[in-house]
Subunit: 221 residues, 2 copies
């Protein structure tokens, strides 16, 4: 049986580019790198962040902004690492925008930091639409989600600088084609860097940390 | 180290309750049940739908509306079952609303159907905010996402009638506490019905199909 395709309406997102440029300028003047970390719920944002911060916290001054619709379970986990953390409640909003990011930075204090992570709301759609002024956009696709996600949520793969393919320790029980995932992402965004890893076991982390360090060094130079 | 909590702004969603009531009224007058199926990307919406339709298609007249930001890979898979399918492209929007649903129903044709599934955009946040006029809201939480999701995305668990806990075949390699997930969901929504299952193996499907049949019979009576 055949099927029809109907184009339903486009919801225009508010233009927050100006505010994002201000965030970017402000952070550049302080030689601080802001990393916008985006992914679906449960892809492993917090676990990835915990391991990444552990690898970097003796070298760089780090701050973390935890954005959640509600709850502060992630901020609690991160704060145990001894880095500066602020919990941002988006009050129902499905993403962070540049204004909210600026307010978060000011509340947290950012002038003395080298590296700031924004853990965005768990959502593969909306955060991709809103530039928050980050110097680096990192997205996580996890193995259980499937290698077809670039086809279905193309914008996230188009705007990100780095794609982490997380939970590679689970690949034996999921049908996940790494080459297909990478090809699909690169068809949308040829410059995207791809790092398969496991935030649970640490496998694959060295290459990701190396790439991130390079970006940090460029920003703080 | 302690952390601050900052309340960032609330984005008010457009009120589409009136349009949702019209959808609901229209479908009730035709004795048709509309099921709004919601979940994160990769939680298994399409696989669940394929197995559910296979179990029901000899008994009921079924239609499916596949909502995606882009692509029609899911509609292709569903159409192979021989049921009526329409692909809805939301044009970047992260959710379906009642107007888009009404247009989809009209494009597809719904007057002669008993049961219509709307596979919503993969997103655990925004679809929960928009009543589309469905008679039944079903959400899927998959084991790899984690049992803490009701804490972090409470609205989805609050508005849903049924929670399917999918991918139970993977539980040996993930830390997932079924009792904790159910308790957290029921703390938000005491009436929510919970069915652990695997859309891959079929385990646990009988109870879910039985519950769904009960709802369909009530709607078409």
């Amino acid at each position: 049986m055949d099927y029809k395709i109907a184009e339903t309406k486009v919801r225009i997102t508010a233009d927050n580019d100006l505010a994002a440029e201000q965030v970017r300028k402000q952070l550049a003047s302080r030689h601080t790198l802001l990393v916008n970390l985006m992914a679906s719920p449960g892809a492993g944002k917090t676990t990835t962040l915990l391991r990444t911060i552990t690898a970097l916290k003796d070298t760089y001054r780090i701050g973390v902004m935890e954005a959640d619709v509600d709850s502060d379970v992630d901020a609690k986990a991160i704060s145990e690492l001894g880095v500066r953390v602020i919990q941002l409640h988006t009050g129902g909003s499905c993403h962070m925008d540049a204004d909210m990011t600026m307010r978060g930075l000011e509340e947290m204090g950012y002038e003395d930091l080298d590296l700031i992570f924004l853990e965005n709301v768990g959502n593969l759609v909306c955060p991709a639409e809103f530039d928050v002024g980050a110097g680096l956009k990192v997205m996580i696709l996890s193995v259980p989600e499937g290698d077809d996600k670039p086809l279905k949520y193309p914008l996230m793969f188009t705007v990100s600088d780095i794609m982490l393919i997380n939970k590679i320790d689970t690949v034996s029980i999921f049908d996940f084609d790494f080459d297909a995932a990478e090809e699909r992402a690169k068809a949308l965004n040829p410059k995207i860097e791809v790092f398969p890893l496991s935030s649970k076991t640490g496998e694959g982390f060295d290459a990701w940390i190396e790439a991130l360090k390079k970006r940090i060094e460029e920003a703080i130079a």
